[in-house]
């Protein structure tokens, strides 16, 4: 927990703005969630396994005396599992008034993605996911960042099909790459 980065302290010092995103990587794809929703980012730590819980639940961790459920982003969206390594991070995010943890491969940075750089995705490209999961795609230089609605991805009641996110990534890459005359992302 020595590595914990407390974003909330910054938030109090200077208001985190709507268009600031925390960018993280899962299986080579960059995703963004609104930075104002993030409480802190922790290195991997001991997580108590919960028997009989949904498969995407990694377990429960002790966050300074509070019990916090931890979701594994890979398992949540049907990517193959990966051993945790030194880059693995737990993003602690506020959901329905409680902190919730999400395990991702790598946490990159907090960046500003201004409105004009956010491209809306035609619904057909994301039709395999429940509506509203993806709020847009941030196009920054050569990067393509899928912007997610934090609450929707944590909501138990609309779990997408396991492979849906992969389809969406393919589809989004094609749509965006075709629609704007940019070189396709690596």
């Amino acid at each position: 927990m020595a590595e914990a980065v407390l974003l909330r302290e910054d938030a109090e010092a200077e208001e985190i703005e709507q268009d600031q995103y925390l960018v993280f990587t899962v299986k080579g794809q960059e995703f963004g969630v609104q930075a104002m929703r993030i409480q802190e980012i922790n290195a991997m730590q001991d997580i108590a396994e919960v028997p009989n819980a949904p498969h995407y639940v990694e377990g429960i961790l002790n966050l300074r005396g509070r019990l916090v459920s931890v979701i594994n982003f890979r398992k949540r969206f049907g990517f193959e599992a990966k051993e945790h390594d030194e880059d693995t991070r737990i993003i602690i995010m506020e959901h329905a008034g409680f902190p919730v943890g999400i395990i991702v491969d790598i946490v990159e940075e907090v960046i500003k993605i201004q409105g004009e750089k956010v491209q809306q995705i035609p619904p057909t490209a994301t039709s395999s996911l429940p509506e509203g999961y993806i709020t847009g795609v941030g196009l920054m230089d050569n990067r393509l960042i899928i912007l997610l609605d934090a609450d929707r991805i944590l909501n138990k009641s609309d779990i997408p099909d396991a492979l849906a996110m992969k389809d969406v990534i393919d589809s989004v890459q094609k749509t965006v790459a075709g629609g704007s005359e940019r070189p396709p992302p690596q």
Partner: protein
């Protein structure tokens, strides 16, 4: 607390309003109590005086705050009360009108609490009052306060007059502050457990003494903070007489609610949680326990039924009884209905003990089966009662005699957040079991376990009880599958279950940490514990884990 210090004038007014509201709330409760007493004994005029006093006090404090519509309504009610003294004993309808009037005024006060006012709210009641006695004296005219009635003072006057004389023995504390204190004590206990862990191998007498002193201080601190969180059950009980009266009227029953033990104190976290199950139990008693008056008379009972709502405490539990003197429950009816609806087989029903038959009532879906109320005399929502009781770490018991009545008992632990737990290792993880469910622990060898019809059982002092391994119940990854290790004998009601674990670790006092909304959906666990080394151990919700209902059906 910076927002508290910016505007002294505003705060003063808010404080004044708070006092007004608190006094009013207390007054309404007294008025309702008096009116309900009057409902039982309509010839006793002193109950009218009680209500009069409350109205009088409310009138003056409302005038002071310029809540004129409330002052006027209180004034009219005073007139009515005055006039009614020559009409004793009162008609039931008149008592109803009085209750309605006080309820209306209570609603008007509530509006004011939100900064709103309704000038016309009382008009309809006032019209009906005029039909009984003449009311509406000139507003300036002062009422003669009945003899022996102490004129009330508003909170403000009282404060000014008495503050220099009385020593402050109590202070109001925000519940958030109490919660924080309580959580900090929890942290302290966790830290203490951690220190215990670290120092157990260090042989230093002075260190041991210091730690045992610290332990004692923490115990006292914990006890005091727990006591500070206690509130009398009356906070919730006081709502019930009116509710039961209303229900009884709707259902054409005549019912007295006798409340006992309303001074018993319970943790404030429980106060809100017991409301819903108690409402269910009381409604159930009115709906399906108490017979209609004519039927009661025919049966040689008093026409007016009674429901006893009683709180009491034992060394480890709070008991809340809801007991009616109604028709009781016939276990045979329950059984035949359960068979009819496919809940149990005919053979199982025949061999079923009465107690288990009664427990069928708590099965989800059983009580909502159509016609159940007519056949069994029992009905809706008992599974809800059981679920809420279990969430609080408690249970529900039934005792009944057909024709005589039924008693439901809600049995709750004294405190919910800090409990003794037995720590066990199973399938590679550590779990906590509430110690009050554990009868004993013992080592086993394969010879102790027998297979009977596909189920494993063990012999426990001459009694055959079901045996199951915790790791297989939990579908743990490292199931040892064997029958070595230890068993924890779990007691629920009078039912015993042997739970096989890899190892029984130790017993310790722990603070139960609540789950977040995601974890609340995990079946089989009701919270977690942070162990001395900082790791999380899950608290087993044993009844839901071992499917108690299924055991019942199997005759255990």
């Amino acid at each position: 607390m910076s927002e508290d210090g910016d505007d002294a004038y505003k705060i003063d007014l808010t404080q004044f309003l708070q006092d007004y509201l608190a006094d009013a709330r207390e007054g309404f409760q007294e008025a309702f109590d008096a009116l309900l007493a009057l409902d039982r004994e309509p010839e006793r005029a002193e109950f009218l005086d009680e209500v009069f006093r409350v109205m009088h006090t409310l009138k003056s404090s409302s005038t002071m705050l310029e809540f004129t519509e409330i002052a006027e309504a209180a004034h009219m009610t005073e007139d009515l009360l005055d006039g009614l003294k020559s009409h004793m004993p009162l008609e039931k309808e008149t008592v109803d009108l009085l209750i309605e009037a006080v309820e209306k005024i209570e609603g008007m006060v509530r509006l004011r609490a939100h900064g709103k006012a309704d000038e016309s709210a009382f008009r309809d009641v006032a019209d009906r009052m005029r039909g009984i006695v003449s009311i509406g004296l000139p507003p300036g005219e002062r009422h003669r306060v009945p003899e022996g009635v102490r004129p009330g003072k508003s909170a403000a006057t009282r404060r000014a007059a008495d503050i220099s004389l009385e020593k402050v023995a109590t202070v109001r504390v925000h519940t958030n502050l109490l919660d924080n204190l309580f959580n900090m004590v929890g942290e302290l206990i966790i830290t203490k457990n951690r220190i215990d862990n670290i120092v157990q191998d260090i042989e230093r007498k002075d260190l041991k003494t210091a730690i045992s002193d610290m332990r004692r201080i923490i115990d006292v601190l914990q006890e005091n903070v727990s006591v500070a969180r206690m509130v009398p059950v009356d906070e919730i009980f006081q709502k019930f007489p009116r509710m039961v009266r209303e229900l009884a009227r709707e259902r054409g029953r005549d019912v007295d609610l006798l409340v006992e033990g309303n001074e018993i104190e319970i943790d404030k976290a429980l106060i809100d949680a017991i409301g819903e199950p108690l409402i269910h139990m009381l409604r159930n008693a009115v709906d399906h326990g108490i017979e209609p008056p004519d039927e009661r008379l025919r049966l040689g009972k008093e026409g007016r039924g009674s429901i006893r709502l009683a709180a009491s405490r034992t060394e480890s539990h709070i008991l809340i009884d809801v007991e009616d003197d109604g028709c009781g429950i016939d276990a045979a009816n329950i059984k035949s209905l359960a068979v009819e609806k496919g809940f149990v087989s005919h053979e199982d029903a025949n061999s079923m003990r009465e107690r288990d038959a009664l427990n069928l009532l708590f099965r989800p879906g059983f009580s909502s089966v159509s016609n159940v109320t007519d056949v069994s005399g029992r009905g809706v929502g008992l599974d809800v009662v059981l679920t809420s009781a279990r969430k609080m770490g408690g249970l529900v018991e039934i005792a009944t005699k057909p024709g005589k009545g039924t008693r439901f008992t809600l049995k709750l632990p004294l405190t919910t957040s800090i409990i003794q737990t037995l720590m066990v290792a199973s399938g590679g993880s550590v779990f906590a079991i509430p110690s009050d469910m554990v009868l004993e622990t013992t080592d086993i060898s394969p010879g102790d376990i027998k297979e009977v019809g596909g189920d494993r059982v063990m012999n426990m002092a001459g009694r055959v009880i079901p045996f199951m391994r915790l790791d297989s119940l939990l579908n743990a990854r490292n199931i040892t599958g064997g029958i070595s290790g230890s068993v924890v004998i779990i007691q629920m009601d009078d039912r015993l279950v042997a739970l096989g674990v890899d190892e029984v670790l130790n017993q310790m006092e722990n603070i139960i940490k609540p789950f977040d909304p995601i974890a609340r959906n995990f079946r089989g666990f009701s919270g977690g514990i942070i162990m001395g080394d900082g790791r999380v151990a899950l608290l087993l919700d044993v009844p839901s884990l071992i499917h108690v209902d299924a055991l019942r059906a199997e005759g255990f």
